[in-house]
Symmetry: C2
Subunit: 142 residues, 2 copies
Amino acid sequence: MWRIAAIIGCLAIGTAPAFGQSKAAIQKLNDEWTAAFNKGDGAAVAATYAEDAYVLPPGADIVKGRAAIEAFWRGAVGQLGDARLTTVDVLPLSGTAAREIGTVTLKTKAQPPQEIVGKYVVVWCRIGRDWKLATDIWNTNK
Amino acid sequence: MWRIAAIIGCLAIGTAPAFGQSKAAIQKLNDEWTAAFNKGDGAAVAATYAEDAYVLPPGADIVKGRAAIEAFWRGAVGQLGDARLTTVDVLPLSGTAAREIGTVTLKTKAQPPQEIVGKYVVVWCRIGRDWKLATDIWNTNK
């Protein structure tokens, strides 16, 4: 069943799915994401995404696939840091998918550092034993 | 089963879910959304959302619930029109949920009109017999 899920994305197949991820579990995944980001490790950030994930950054085109996502985050970590993600709401969609809404703050590395405040939506999918970001989009509040 | 689905959001419960929405079916829902938007009918736009939906607009805080969503779109249709939504990718998550990625163009009503080009993510949920927007977030490309 894991393999099937990996092939077809995160569509739940078969018997009744259990409930999806909890808010605490997703917050923990986010803390891993920010740890990688704040170390400036674009490859580790990219590794939190599904192979066929989409990232939709403000001010840029759609980024598709882990290689392109890694290139994107490698660039971003040079300019931004001190990220904090806070999970606001989790909507379980099946045993293998959940929608998260959260808020984000980060700081520019240019001097003086400017704080950026935003919000995001992530669709998480279970791929094998791991939960991965399948879709990631955000914008700023101001 | 419809009632249960309506109560708990769009989590698939029970037997194996069928495949989710097709790209063509979601494009049709989008065409209904834009017809309402381009007529300036904020209430009709809001009616395409689930009661407990979230909208995450750039330059603003998170908007939650259909009443707040209606107020938001009533304001927006005064300033923007000529919207066109194009479905790029649909990821079925269960028989009652799907993630859509799309592109959007619209024009400001101020003279001279300016074109805005963006992209979005929508999580669609089946509520009873209808598919509704449960989560809607977008940003601009430039």
